[in-house]
């Protein structure tokens, strides 16, 4: 389908596709098996300018937005849904600065992030605060010109590898969600350490770690937005980033289908290729249809975001929900079409199924997405 991309968007897509094919695909299995962070690919992505595609030109980016980020994430995820996260999770960690940063904060942090000289990470989740983001127990206590951070963040993508962290902490625990604030914390700040690296089911090339803050002193200039606005920062960030997760899911699904179409044309049973069986053909057709529907939905959402639309929570949630559920179903069916071979780690397809699963869980579980969609739906109707 022709989505009438601009010339620049086509360049981004083609460049990401070339990197995915020539540089990521050959090493995806290695990084999945070893679970190490793909710094050599990050270097390539950085030299290719892809880290700046959603950042304004005056901060060193190329001036695109959500649509550009979605296109690149999709292409990279076709080759590896874990490696693509180095870029996508940096965007997640950068959005709070783009959305709520002061001019000084933007000038200080965005140029290095746009060049890919530094990676970013967003830290909200804790052991007791996942979907219930208001239950954040990490505290930020103001002392003169500083805030003192204490607490532990959990399952932070790019954790340990990133240099710049946007961290949600509570300045007033009695106020719940209204007592939260978002801070920029740099790696190397005394009192900021990393916990264990998680051993994950999928997206294993991506680093997931605990962030541990022990009397970590940060200057008050590192507050993003206002005290009490932390929850809003998180929600607005997710509104921007959910199409990114959706495009990661989309890329994983498309990558899996591409491999599957190749396989069914080769695999012979009963004297013919299994692609000649109608039962197999129908599965392929259903997968292609669902993938295209997700793509159309994601692109439409990204374009809406880039138009400056304000009410985006529902549509952003719809895109994330649909694309991630689609990716789980498609990759499961792809493994099915590979049969016994598909279940074996010698074949690349089972990785896609493992990588797809996380997209239903993180940046808001799909149950939370449904809640967001439903509450917006009901609010709209009650006006």
């Amino acid at each position: 389908m022709d989505y009438l991309l601009t010339e620049e968007q086509i360049m981004i897509r083609d460049l990401a596709r070339q990197i995915a094919k020539e540089k990521i695909k050959p090493v995806a299995a290695k990084y999945d098996a070893e679970g190490i962070f793909p710094w050599d690919i990050v270097k390539i992505l950085s030299e290719s300018d892809l880290f700046g595609i959603y950042i304004e030109e005056k901060y060193g980016g190329t001036g695109g937005g959500s649509m550009e980020l979605v296109l690149a994430t999709e292409e990279l995820s076709k080759a590896c849904g874990g490696i693509s996260l180095a870029l996508a999770a940096t965007a997640l960690g950068t959005y709070p600065i783009i959305l709520f940063g002061t001019e000084e904060q933007k000038m200080k942090y965005l140029p290095d992030l746009a060049k890919g000289k530094k990676l970013a990470a967003f830290a909200l989740t804790e052991a007791g605060a996942g979907s219930d983001a208001g239950a954040v127990a990490t505290t930020a206590t103001k002392k003169g010109d500083h805030y003192i951070l204490n607490g532990t963040k959990q399952w932070i993508t790019n954790g340990g590898e990133a240099e710049v962290y946007t961290v949600v902490a509570s300045v007033d625990r009695t106020k719940g969600a209204r007592g939260a604030a978002c801070f920029i914390v740099e790696k190397g700040t005394p009192g900021f350490e990393f916990g264990k690296k998680e051993d994950k089911m999928g997206i294993r090339a991506s680093a997931t770690r605990e962030l541990v803050f022990t009397d970590c002193k940060i200057p008050k200039e590192n507050l993003l937005g206002k005290e009490g606005a932390g929850f809003i920062v998180a929600m607005k960030t997710f509104d921007q980033s959910r199409p990114g997760v959706a495009s990661q899911a989309l890329g994983i699904a498309q990558g899996a289908l591409d491999l599957t179409v190749e396989y069914v044309k080769e695999r012979k049973q009963f004297g013919k290729t299994i692609s000649s069986f109608q039962g197999v053909q129908f599965m392929l057709a259903d997968m292609a249809t669902q993938i295209e529907a997700a793509r159309a939905l994601i692109y439409a959402t990204a374009r809406m975001l880039d138009s400056g639309a304000k009410k985006i929570s529902k549509d952003s949630a719809i895109a994330k929900l649909f694309a991630s559920d689609m990716a789980m179903k498609v990759t499961t069916d792809c493994v099915q079409l590979f049969g016994g071979y598909g279940y074996m780690r010698d074949y690349p397809i089972e990785k896609y199924m493992r990588d797809a699963k996380i997209t239903q869980i993180y940046e808001g579980t799909n149950q939370i997405q449904r809640s967001v969609i439903a509450s917006n739906l009901i609010k709209e109707k009650s006006k």
Partner: protein, 262 residues
Amino acid sequence: MNIIVCIKQVPDTTEVRIDPETNTLIRSGVACIVNPFDMYAVEEAIRLKEKFGGKVTVITMGPPQAEEALRETISLGADEAVLISDRAFAGSDTWATSYTLSGAIRTLGDYDVIICGKQAIDGDTAQVGPGISAHLDIPQITYVKKIEEVDMEKKYMRAERMTEEGYEIVESPLPCLITVVKEINEPRLPSLKGKMRAKKAEIKKIGAKDMDLDPGLLGLNGSPTKVVKIFTPAPREKGQVIEGDPKEISEKLVELLKSDIL
């Protein structure tokens, strides 16, 4: 350091088809790429520029659509590109091509190094690079796998070149021409900003009248090579496999060697 890189646009296939009537390559319906060996030349030129400063100028002789190949090299970091195109060049063999390219290089001003890929994947002659150096009367180092040293003060270069038996280390005064093999580097991918620059870049075009060349030495008329016949050789037949344990195999082999079969 001023570096000139000569590239060629070639069909993107390893199975080049040949028109049996005209004995020339069939180009229609085949996507075009920059000759892969030339990509190593472009990369090496950009690395030299990054080290010594200066300018990388990429040139190609070809039809108007070869401009795309030049733009690709700009997206990688080349500064300028020149398309040498004229109906008068049609049908050039390696002699006429290198004569024309040398004429174009003379119009570009001073240079320190000319870099070419070792050969093009379509014609596979490996003659154009050395031809240019002969026409320009400058030294050449072919099959370079490593530039060991460049001294811009004393104006010389030392390079390692591959030979069938091993390698040789050759020193040459500058300016000189080198042709490179794929072992020399790993070409980079383009950057987004490079692609944007490439799209907008102005490609200089020069034709036969812009150069001081003898018209009789251009194109088909200036080409001493006459292709009599080009054909695809029949695939080699499967050899005879001798099976058994080592003793049996050696006995059978000796028998065969003694017989008339071999």
